[in-house]
Symmetry: C2
Subunit: 198 residues, 2 copies
DNA sequence: AGCTTAAGCCAACAGCTGTTGACACGTCGA
DNA sequence: TCGACGTGTCAACAGCTGTTGGCTTAAGCT
């Protein structure tokens, strides 16, 4: 009982959401027009509004994202940096949503907030289990963000040649040590108790 | 002789270009409307077109950028990574143009191409003098791009809290080693002649 | 069957966009 | 003084945008 009837509209609702995600990922917020999204979903533009009330809310529905980070116990701490790079690559290439968020966040405040939330609410808790000094976790999560978002920007959005040509293993090999250091290295601005020289 | 007359229009032309740069930097390409730019420059929208023929050409004029990288002889090779991070920060905070390029490049192909050119034509030649294996220079320049663009994106566009709060010295201390490794470290995917284990 | 209601299409709105052409003001040189 | 020209304003265009309301069809229930 309380069986929710599976209406026919659920299919088109999902079709609209998926088409919206692809358009946002490919064109950004303003160029992803409702008419284009509707056309992709083989539906009338007015239906998009009927189902999602406004473009803003359609975006909110299309841009829900879960990093699906593994549990801290299932990754070897000594290889955490490399594992994280690989995981990000997987999530990026298997799901349009992150690309949609990145393309829209540059001009759309709600998308930027969503990206901030991804790193603060999903990545930071994992880092909290990987490193000991809790106060530094937000900074470390932010540093990881700079490198991983920069990779995605360069590779998937800007199409910087030498970066798009690197294969998965090469990226992990190059960026792995960077991420690992951001997670585990001592704060380089802390004055050492033994030596204060750089 | 052949003295170019300094016309009054030169001032307004420059005003339009500066206003355009600020708007592109703040709003991205599509939201930076000609009417808004004209309003900032206290001029009629039609004048913008008269002076620059089209929005596209206005953008091209407003987005000319020179990284102003120092000569390879004037930086200590052992500190090149840290020096580069500092230089990027200076260029980013002293000139709207890079931010305008970053904001527009996400949806505008010409801007993306311009960013690619900055790293390929301005950064790569410097790296060519800093490291020995020439074949790897484009890859290394691209890697530097991923980290520096990611920093700018996180700090100036997305406003990731912990990153915006870092001061200049902290950023240099954290990212310096990363950039330095991208410039100088041996290709991590090369099999070592002595050991092939990771 | 017939009635209800969901699902979809069509046409239109008000607003904004880049761009254009016609007209007015002012400042020069002859 | 007159004309030419550089500089600027006004009004309007065609096209696109998100959004709305009314109409038509199809499905589901009794």
């Amino acid at each position: 009982m309380a069986e929710t009837h599976r209406r026919r509209s659920d299919a088109t609702r999902a079709a609209i959401r998926d088409a919206a995600r692809e358009r946002f990922a490919a064109d950004g917020y303003e160029r992803a027009t409702i008419r284009a999204i509707a056309s992709d979903a083989r539906i009338d533009p007015s239906m998009v509004i009927r189902y999602f009330n406004s473009k803003e809310k359609l975006f909110a529905a299309a841009a829900e994202f879960d990093l699906q980070l593994p549990d801290s116990r299932s990754i070897a701490h000594a290889e955490a940096g490399w594992a994280l790079v690989g995981h990000f690559l997987d999530r990026w290439e298997g799901d349009d949503t992150l690309l949609a968020l990145l393309r829209t966040a540059v001009t759309h405040a709600a998308a930027a907030e969503r990206i901030r939330a991804v790193f603060a609410d999903q990545l930071a808790p994992l880092l909290a289990e990987l490193c000991d000094d809790r106060a530094q976790v937000p900074t470390r999560a932010g540093l990881v963000a700079t490198q991983m978002l920069g990779l995605a920007l360069s590779r998937y959005v800007l199409g910087i040649g030498p970066i798009t040509e690197l294969d998965r293993d090469a990226i992990i090999a190059w960026l792995g040590p960077t991420i690992h250091r951001y997670i585990t290295a001592r704060n380089p601005t802390d004055a050492s108790p033994l030596t204060t020289s750089p």
